[in-house]
Amino acid sequence: MEHAHATAQALSLSLSVSYLRYIPLFPLLGVLFNIFLGHRLGRKAVNIVSPGMVFLSFLVSLHAFWNLPEGGRLVDTMWLWISSGTLHVDFALQVDQLSAMMILVVTGVGFLIHVYSTGYMAHDHDVARYFAYLNLFTASMLLLVLGENLLLLFVGWEGVGLCSYLLIGFWYTDDEKASAGKKAFIVNRVGDAGFLLGLFLLFWTLGESNVWTLSFSTIQQHIAAVPAEVATVICLLLFVGAAGKSAQIPLYVWLPDAMAGPTPVSALIHAATMVTAGIYMIARLNFLYALSPTALSVVATVGAATAFFAATIGLVQTDIKKVLAYSTVSQLGYMFLALGVGAYTAGVFHLMTHAFFKALLFLGAGSVIHGMSDEQDITKMGGLKSKMPVTFWTFFIACLAIAGVPGLSGFFSKDLILEEAYASPLGSPMLWLVGTIGAGMTAFYMFRLLFVTFFGENRASHEVQHHIHESPASMTVPLAILAVLSIVGGYFPLLHFLSPLFGEHHEPHVAPLIKYLPTVVGLGGIALAYVMYVLNPAIADNMARGLSAFHKLLFNKYYIDEIYDAVIVRPIVGMSNWLWKVWDAIVIDGTVNGAAHTMEANGSLLRLWQNGNVQNYALSFLIGAMAILGYYLW
């Protein structure tokens, strides 16, 4: 009863407005501009309009944020979208506390990355196409987080998937990059199949009690009509979709390959925003997941396992973007861990801080790659500290933030997740332990990356060394802004802000050891990285040699790609080949062509009758006439 009362109160606070539509509309206009006028008006116009449109969205989002009623939401119903029998779906956007945070992150970080892109893509000839995709992505992502019903969420969900594919394969002339795009798309299809099934099941389950709806608020009102067992199945199916989009075990394999795209894309789509769609979806449907502790424990376990395994792979990678990619997978695992123990606030908090520092890390990496003439291997870098000071200092701040050094944003959110993992009724010491070890590894591999890239002697060729330069202002200014956000992000009163959705946040009570150990482990990871890669680099080499089997296993990412290839890809390709060459070419074509050949053979026999001799025909007439006559007279 209390729950129903609270829901009714929340609904009474929904305020009808008509400006939310402009938030996704502006980037959509940018898409049209870039497609139709981008090439004609040239690089300068594109560089102004594309980030400008996102900035306008950001301003509208800020306006919505300021006008958000305390504990309520804004709704913009544009038109009746689908009407079939008793089902009515509105094309409606909503801004509540969760959506408000998401749109500010998407448009805010998105704007900075658009600006950065104008510098990063300055030498690419196809800049209009790039920005068309990037604007389309922004519009889709905004639709995803603004949608008032599951159907609109799904439209945005598929839209961002499409843009991800287009942007990973942006340099499509390179076969490897085009394949990476396809891989991302296909792996996401697997997840989306689960997502759709979950959606159908939820729809039908509510329909059984005569509630035909897709709207979040109506679903929440009638959520009691969903039996617990069915809720478990729905939640698990939806989680398959989330695991695909947010790169969790076993569907994470596409994200490291997605690094084939331009680096700003990796920052925006494959770190800060799109990959958090799964987190957003589960947080949005928290009332559904609350019905199923089983599903939540699966989410928590998968999240913790992903956080741990991705971190171990990140320890030994040498491609700067690959390290960051595995770090992203690992951090997303932390967010799922938080959701799984029922700490939605903590998960969403980490989503936001991660968006800041991971976008910063990727943009910093992009700046390094830009300065190093497109070199991505960190073993060929080193000593960039003095040559790229802005990049170094911002990157350093991001590393501190992700490592959980006290005072920076990552410290607050990660600490909260680990405390909740221990103290929440759904949590367990095991989850906490795995998360804490993961935190130590995170700190280690991030500072390994930092030390190898920016410290010591430069190991590049003289040609490359000669060209090393700090990036232009269009790239360094976004870096600086994101660095500030990475520091102060932890101080936003987000926990209280989100309380209308997830309930008031209570600081979990845990023993000091549990509370402070993750931080100590993180600092220890940094110290270890310093010893191994700055003080005495020989240790790292010796360890790699001493544990060569283990090192090889990690370096090759547990051979997961090879295993998937052997277990899934090859059998499917083999079966498709058989279906093509045997079933289609021989059986199907054989039947069709065989029928035609039979007809032709019979026809060529019959046509011998047509010999052109009129008297023969007359004889046939006669015989026929006599036969008919005989039949009737008999």
Binding site: G612, N613, Q615, A618, L619
Partner: protein, 100 residues
């Protein structure tokens, strides 16, 4: 007056002769004449039966048949003439252009 069967038997004999002529002779003119014979055999049975049944319908049809036969003779002879000009023959065996 001779019984109706005599007329019908004569008509049948004439028709059979006509059919045989169409099927067995090779000269198109002869075939043409055999067709005329068949038409007139039918005419004979029409008038005989009309008389026998006391109805004018049969006699009326005969007039139509004669008119059609006259028109047919005109067209048919013209065709045969043109065929001869082109092919130098009117032998039905050799006119086998319309075949596979």
């Amino acid at each position: 007056m001779a019984p109706i069967s005599y007329h019908l038997i004569l008509s049948g004999i004439l028709f059979t002769i006509g059919v045989m002529g169409v099927l067995l002779r090779r000269n198109t003119i002869i075939i043409f004449m055999a067709i005329e014979l068949m038409l007139n055999a039918v005419n004979l049975s029409f008038v005989a039966l009309a008389r026998h049944l006391g109805s004018m319908d049969g006699q009326l049809i005969v007039l139509f048949v004669m008119a059609v036969a006259a028109a047919e003779a005109a067209v048919g002879l013209a065709i045969i003439l043109m065929v001869f000009r082109n092919k130098e023959t009117i032998n039905a065996d050799e006119l086998k252009l319309m075949r596979w």
